[in-house]
Amino acid sequence: MFFVGIDIGSTASKVAVRGQKELEFVLPTGWNSKETAFQIKKNLFDVYGIDVTNNDVITISTGYGRVSVPYADKTVTEITCHAKGVQVMHNLKSCTIIDVGGQDTKIISIKDGNVDDFTMNDKCSAGTGKFLEIMCNRLGLTIDELFTFANKGKVLQISSMCTVFAESEIIGLMGDGNKREDIAAGVVDSVATKVKQLATRHGLRNNVILTGGLSINPIFIKILSEHLGQPIIAHEKGRFAGAIGAAVIAQK
């Protein structure tokens, strides 16, 4: 049997397989999640020989594009999937998950193996991956470069919480001849501050786990844990937490 978890996020689509084979891969979501779902089906077959239409394959889809996967046997939200994935990956029964996603940042509390409570950002994009992406474009940096620059810079306060206004604010800072390192440090600090606000509103337990694309970024982990005043646990496969969770749920 193969158990396939597909997490179609707003930016990246993550796939995890459990059962006879254990593997993960990621591809960009692009503009059409139906097409992405088709591409995933093709990859699974061409590269790994897994045919999602076979009876011995159970597929669960999650993430914003979860309804765009026509061959999924079931859809489950990314909140439940992240919770399941983190528990399996970290072998923890109680913890708090921080997931910085492309358009949503979520804080999820897990108690005795179940989701106990969760909080998500309102529809504004401050404190999400989208905010970083837009600022990177403006600064002419990749996400990795942004963090390398930020690590060398001195935080320049970016006070606008609205992404559009923050972009104007950065243009102003650039116009004043500030160093790119300092602006980059300001951008990262702004995201960490916003995530901290959300986490404080929600209430943090011990064992804080970071998931999402930034969970393999040591600089972000360092900065965020300084803001939160507590250590952050990350996993090298942290961005696959939702997909792994979906695959594990499919197994049951």
């Binding site: 909140i79 949503d104 989701v115 409570d117 969760f118 309102d122 529809k123």
Partner: protein, 382 residues
């Protein structure tokens, strides 16, 4: 001369129906008073021989017109009410002879000043707390002055006798509304929250007390006869309460959505919901004293403190066997947004129930995000 607005032909069927129904009442010589809030002592309007209509303000319509004058960052309910009023799209506002309003939140009370430029608006000064010194006396005095104002405006006199009659009539309607709400106390509930809210909203199309009571009683009996015990092979759908800001503008976005996902909204806990309807006006007291007491008991986040809301929440949650609470906060509703911090604590820590807060407006731009939150909330409960 009673006539329809110039842009009548551009309206949808439901809106046209509302206009025609109200025009017929006006042609019969009825006087109409528009109201915005549960704090309005409707009995005064009835005693003045007029009908009260609650003014729209629950859709995206009117918001673009409103934003030409009001700030964008104002709550959608105020923007929608104002926009529909100034663009002649709200039949109730259009046919109102005057508006009876009160100082509830800052946004509303300043908006009334602008409305007053197009229609007479009488603003009652509501105390900011229920237990402050002289709160009840001041409110009673406001009610007396309003009775005088309405009497002068409609060229009539509000006597203690017709006020008493209005109190008795209004209590009768309250009891009928409460009975309809109480249908959802049955487990499983024989009616969805969406349908029940449509039924109660439709009382707006009935203009005499007998009509309203008869309509509600018929509907309630129908709903009660729909009751079937839970099929033992089936799982009971989670029973939820929707609390927070007035929810008529998010009926499709939240109530319908969460019920489509497999839950039942069994308590519509807003200022027009069961917790307000069950406070009757004392028919044995001095009518002004009795009205002042009843209306000041309404628990709204504009009051400070608003401790009564938490007592109400606890009681209603127990009576209706609620499994989880959704709190809806409209953007820029500062009083509910701030109070939500206490509500969450109360629901999750003191009552030990799952709680989710949804911040939204009347647009559909966040429906995918809301869907994910509601779905995850239900996965968490079950």
């Amino acid at each position: 001369m009673i006539k329809l607005p110039d842009n009548f032909e551009t309206f949808d069927e439901k809106r046209k129906k509302g206009f025609i129904a109200l025009m017929e009442e006006k042609e019969k010589g009825k006087k109409v008073v528009g109201t915005f809030c549960s704090y309005t002592p409707i009995e005064l309007i009835l005693a003045a021989g007029a009908v009260s209509v609650s003014l729209c303000g629950n859709s995206e319509q009117g918001i673009p017109e409103a934003e030409a004058i009001l700030p964008k960052t104002l709550c959608p309910l105020i923007k929608s009410s104002f926009g529909l009023a100034i663009s002649d799209k709200c039949p109730y506002f259009y046919f109102s002879d005057m508006i009876l309003a009160e100082t509830t939140c800052d946004g509303k009370k300043k908006m009334y000043e602008l409305l007053n430029e197009i229609k007479p608006v009488h603003v009652m000064h509501l105390p900011q707390g229920q237990n402050g010194p002289l709160s009840i006396e001041a409110w009673k005095e406001q009610i007396k002055q309003t009775a005088k104002y309405l009497g002068d405006f409609f060229n009539t006199e509000i006597t203690e006798e017709n006020l008493h009659n209005a109190i008795v009539e209004r209590n009768r309607i309250r009891k009928a509304i409460l009975k309809a709400y109480e249908v959802t106390k049955l487990v499983p509930s024989p009616v969805s929250g969406y349908e029940l809210s449509s039924i109660i909203e439709a009382t707006d199309f009935h203009f005499t007390d007998d009509d309203i009571v008869e309509y509600l009683e018929t509907k309630t009996n129908q709903l009660l006869s729909n009751y079937k015990p839970l099929d033992p092979n089936k799982k009971l759908r989670p029973r939820l309460m929707l609390t927070g800001c007035p929810h008529t503008g998010v009926r499709d976005k939240i109530i319908k959505k969460v019920e489509d996902l497999g839950a039942d909204i069994v308590v519509l806990d807003s200022c027009a919901g069961p917790r307000t309807q069950r406070i009757l006006v004392d028919e044995t007291k001095d009518p002004y004293e009795a009205l002042a007491e009843k209306y000041l008991k309404i628990n709204c986040s504009v009051m400070t403190p608003n401790d009564g809301r938490f007592e109400d929440l606890k009681a209603v949650i127990e009576e209706y066997k609620v499994d989880g609470v959704i709190e809806m906060v409209l953007f820029a509703c500062h009083t509910f947004a701030i109070e939500a911090h206490k509500t969450k604590k109360f629901i999750s820590e003191e009552l030990g129930l799952p709680y989710i807060r949804i911040d939204t407006d009347f647009s559909s731009s966040d429906s995918a995000q809301i869907q994910t939150r509601l779905e995850a909330f239900l996965e968490m409960i079950s």
